[in-house]
Symmetry: C2
Subunit: 371 residues, 2 copies
């Protein structure tokens, strides 16, 4: 009745996961060793260094959380925010909404700055919220909204947070490895990402990094972190590289082999080169979509190269097209999410997916399916 | 400076991870597809059914949580327990202590029933705690204490919980697939396990199952679950198999390929056969250890076949022996944990690790290293 699972391979041009290269899948399937094995401790140390490279940071506390990006988001919130704290949270898509939900579940007060889905966060509104609320502990926002494809100005937002003496908490799930991101230069205090977007690793891991200031805030909390699993004051000792690691949980060993390999590939390509590749492929995609008269949701200056939200043409059925792409071409694009469901498609050009071959195929396949 | 990671293979005879078979590693490295792909939805449905088989349950809510066993523990606690609830928690090792920590971080009151590390939970003490506390919401205990190798009488403990109208929350991280476990027959309300013990899958996944009564308790909560990521009322809709799944997070796709394969292997062997194999290998190990005059920590009737805590012989240095086993034989055994550190070794015979070859090698290697 049950058989081994042998999936038909797909070309993954949705909002993640992106295609995982044979090289990363090869690393993934190397023999499992113990998580306290000296070999594995060495691997964890290298992952920390490679993540520092990818994040553009020297933050000591830079690790790979043993759970997906959603848990990375929650980890940043529950470790840095305490009950009754005030947090400004910017909502311009699904993931800003999720940040608010996390903040409220801590018992903190979320001060909402709202923008239209598809627009970036409006800087003036954020400054207004800071002026109206003098005791804000943190500003939380999404750098690259995966639900809309809009990029917000993370650098200026973090400057605003600093100006008003607040921490910055940044969602970089879709930006890490795909477009400019400079944790130290921009002064980001807490950042989380996902393994399955522009790093093109398997899903299930969330790279996170805390500034020294954020670590200080964590260490001087009045109350315990409400989550034991996500308590980074404990996780920190599991990832500390000086031979005095203390057991916390069992790391997802093989997934970390894969993350190491995908980060190594990023380093070998060069971070700036990877950003440029995503940008170039976005331009190629844009040119192809224009010929099909397909329009973008997001205004040009705010578009993410790696996540392209486009408007479903009038008279075209969302599901029919996506099903046809999948069944005829083994090609996956993403549906709209939340209030954009049925109105947009999300075309991902992330990590290993971002190459000329895939862009050409998508344009040809769309042309066929839409005709 | 950085290179691809190619670990020296080890024989994993510690407390987990256990050895992952080539068959499971093969499944793990199949091409990543989307988590909303119809193929993947079919896989999730099969995983639910295979987990029901492994747990001996017909519970509708039986899923694989996208994080390690520690998160499975936390999921059971935060979903079923609310602030100010009273929970009896049995502590006879590290993981009972962790349960208490989770209960207290919810803002609930932990009523502690303590036993010596290496002993099973004393049933009379639990009944005494119920009698002394008439409004207890749940009883939480560890079926198979991974830190000591002691098995508690889960069946009778769950009967006690039922008698006093309390939910039972059971840690089966080390028991699932390795020794008798009958969720429905024993009346377990909430159970969590790990992928990397007797299932011999890669680490990072926690199988969990809730009885209908537990689901009812979750659905009639007064307050929101404090963790968004672990809120099973949301996760439930992600795992629902009737074509109306709603997005929650991105599942660890490749790890679920591996879990499916390992569960399939368990079903092909037969659950009772797997329990018998663990038992037989434990007897072979015991016989070998007796010849080396190595004694068990746990009294014979309460020993877990899959996790054997033994006393480090007088005059023998813990670390020297484990290091020698690892460097000369590529063989890992576990150190003692918590108050047993330096006093015990933990010898795992879990899942794929549990075969005659490994037992023979361990005895020979120990004989060499100890001589």
């Amino acid at each position: 009745m049950f058989e081994s699972f042998n999936p038909t391979p797909r070309i993954l041009m949705g909002p993640g996961p992106s295609n995982v290269s044979p090289r990363v899948l090869g690393a993934l399937s190397r023999p499992t060793i113990g998580h306290l094995d000296p070999q594995f401790i060495g691997l964890m140390d290298e992952i920390k260094q490679l993540l520092q490279y990818a994040f553009n940071t020297e933050n000591t506390f830079t690790i790979a959380l043993s759970a997906p990006g959603s848990a990375g988001m929650e980890a940043c919130v529950v470790n840095l925010i305490e009950p009754n704290d005030k947090v400004i949270v910017c909502i311009n898509g699904v993931f800003g909404t999720r940040l608010k939900e996390n903040i409220e579940r801590v018992g903190a007060q979320a001060i909402i700055v709202e923008d239209k889905w598809g627009d970036p966060v409006t800087l003036d509104k954020v400054e207004g919220a800071f002026k109206a609320n003098p005791t804000v502990k943190a500003l939380a926002f999404v750098h690259a909204e995966t639900s809309t494809g809009a990029r917000s100005d993370a650098k200026t937002l973090c400057q605003l947070a600093k100006k008003y003496n607040a921490l910055s908490i940044v969602d970089a799930v879709t930006s890490l490895g795909g477009s400019e991101l400079k944790v130290d230069e921009w002064g980001i205090d807490a950042i989380y990402s996902g393994s399955q977007k522009c790093l093109s690793c398997v899903p299930g891991i969330s790279p996170i990094s805390f500034s020294d200031k954020a670590v200080e805030v964590l260490k001087s909390r009045k109350s315990k972190v409400q989550s034991w699993f996500l308590d980074q004051s404990l996780v920190m000792n599991y990832w500390s590289g000086e031979g005095k690691r203390s057991y916390h949980h069992t790391a997802p060993i093989n997934s970390l082999y894969a993350l190491h390999e995908s980060l190594l590939m990023l380093k070998q390509e060069g971070l700036e080169n990877a950003w440029q590749r995503h940008h170039n492929l976005h331009l190629a995609l844009k040119s192809g979509l224009e010929k099909l008269n397909i329009e973008f949701l997001v205004d040009e200056p705010h578009r993410l190269p790696q996540l392209n939200s486009v408007l479903i043409p009038n008279g075209i059925d969302d599901n029919t097209v996506r099903t046809a792409l999948l069944s005829k071409y083994n090609l996956e694009i993403g549906a709209g999410l939340g209030q954009l469901a049925g109105k947009t498609w999300r075309i991902g050009l992330m990590g290993s997916t971002a190459n000329e071959q895939n862009v050409a195929l998508l344009i040809a396949a769309l042309q066929d399916v839409l005709s």
